[in-house]
């Protein structure tokens, strides 16, 4: 085959490490794109999360027999419980894909900083969870006859999702390497994510009930503080979780 000479002629690398900075973001982009494309093809993760969310909401409907007035006050709680539980499905799946095919090794072999894997996974998980929220919210509005098209609420969901995914991705990386993988992630995640949950529920509730911003402000601050602290901590310890 004359291919050999073809392969030899093409230079593989850019000269020296001329663009390491750009490469960092290129690598993150590559991993995120890979996750999104793979998920769009199989749709296992999204459909699993979606169906699960709807089932949880359905169960709540029967478990909590609510009149119209009480419904508004528990909506925030129901929504966040749903996201919290469905989220663990997504987190688990996302890491399991890498672990089961040994693909994690493929990522670790690449000449990029380990944090690329962490940030890329966080972004991909964030996209998935927000997609699910985007579908669940309108459905919930219809089923429960509650108006959820509220800018403040959407903002809270975004902030909450960021914090959840930051911690969750890190913990999922650990849980997926244990024998008790499926049950371990919720056990590890839920105690740590409680401040986020409390703040998210109170803030969501505040926006839905139309409270003024001053009353909701402390919760929003707590959300942002949580997000910043945990993203930083997770970023710092991620190396220890993936190296052997």
């Amino acid at each position: 085959m004359n291919v050999r000479s073809q392969v030899e002629k093409i230079p593989a690398h850019p000269a020296a490490s001329s663009i390491p900075f750009r490469h960092y973001f290129q690598a993150i982009g590559a991993v995120v794109w890979k996750d999104l494309v793979a998920e769009m093809r199989s749709r296992e993760l999204l459909s699993g999360m979606l169906v699960f969310s709807l089932l949880v909401i359905l169960i709540f409907n029967f478990a909590l027999e609510l009149d119209a007035a009480t419904r508004v006050s528990v909506t925030a709680g129901v929504l966040w419980v749903t996201f919290t539980f469905a989220g663990t499905l997504g987190l688990n799946r996302s890491m399991a894909v890498e672990k089961d095919n040994g693909c994690l090794d493929g990522l670790l072999l690449a000449p990029v900083d380990r944090s690329v894997i962490y940030f890329a996974k966080v972004i991909a998980n964030l996209v998935f969870i927000l997609l699910v929220a985007a579908i669940v919210l309108p459905l919930y509005s219809i089923l429960y006859n509650v108006n959820l098209f509220n800018l403040g609420l959407i903002w809270v969901i975004f902030l909450g999702a960021v914090g959840y995914v930051s911690v969750g991705t890190l913990l999922a990386s650990m849980a997926v390497q244990a024998r008790t993988r499926d049950i371990l992630l919720p056990i590890l995640l839920f105690p740590i994510v409680i401040p986020l949950l409390v703040a998210a529920v109170k803030a969501s509730s505040g926006f839905l009930q139309g409270l003024e911003l001053a009353a909701i402000q402390p919760w929003l601050t707590l959300l942002v503080v949580y997000d910043v602290i945990f993203t930083a901590v997770a970023f710092m310890v991620f190396d220890y979780v993936v190296e052997e």
């Binding site: 291919v3 050999r4 030899e8 230079p11 593989a12 794109w33 670790l108 000449p111």
Partner: protein, 231 residues
């Protein structure tokens, strides 16, 4: 090219590698033989920077592991039992993904060239999920040389392949190693190894017990050499 000096690897109380000495010059093709549980996979994982040595020195192309791991990874290609490919992506997409991870210039051309090299050009748009194990393994080798590494590490590449697939793999390996790449391959299959390698080392009970160059072996001498080394 590869220098390993007094390498020790422990997993908790268990000692897997007990002071391995290993040296490979550029262009050599070393077949690393040994019984199950000898530590071949662990050894290869350390060489590929996926595992850290407990004690000892490891240098590849002059760069030390684990300190200069990033520089080493740029120059390393790895093939393991698992193909390290994403089933939900096409062959082409898999290669493009890795190409971006390795910051390869002229990615399109390179991907096409590699697909041709491993004989999968006509399956470029098919999902890897649909590939047979032999095809996946060939693509995996393509993936490993995408960035034109100086060193290639292969861990039991023939596992789970039928005769035809093995022959095809042989062909690809010959292509890929003819350029003077340094190769370390672990294998159970003495016959296959005998055809490709220029040197044979035996790893057992955590150390390299014996080493012999191809020229020094008589015909069918490999099996004798192996048996004797293990005693």
């Amino acid at each position: 090219m590869i220098e390993v000096h007094r390498l020790v690897k422990r997993f908790g109380p268990k000692v897997i590698l007990r002071g391995v000495e290993f040296r490979v010059v550029p262009g050599e093709f070393v077949a690393l033989l040994g019984p199950n549980g000898a530590g071949k996979t662990t050894f290869l994982r350390i060489l590929s920077s996926l595992a850290r040595p407990t004690l000892g020195d490891v240098r590849i192309s002059g760069y030390a592991l684990p300190g200069q791991a990033s520089a080493v990874r740029q120059r390393l290609g790895v093939v393991s039992h698992q193909p390290l490919l994403y089933g939900d992506l096409t062959a082409e997409e898999n290669l493009r993904f890795y190409g971006r991870m390795y910051a390869i210039t002229d990615l399109d051309q390179r991907v096409h060239a590699i697909l041709d090299l491993v004989g999968l050009a006509n399956r470029r748009r098919d999902l890897v999920r649909t590939f047979s194990r032999g095809m996946a393994q060939r693509l995996s080798i393509g993936r490993s040389v995408l960035h034109d590494p100086e060193v290639l590490l292969l861990d039991e590449p023939y596992t789970g392949l039928d005769q035809d697939a093995c022959d095809m793999l042989d062909g690809v390996l010959r292509q890929v190693t003819s350029r003077g790449r340094t190769v370390v391959m672990t294998s159970h299959d003495l016959v296959r190894a005998a055809n490709l390698a220029s040197r044979f080392d035996v790893l057992s009970r955590g150390v390299i017990l014996a080493s012999v160059a191809r020229q020094a072996l008589h015909q069918d001498g490999l099996l004798t050499f192996y048996r004797e080394a293990l005693q």
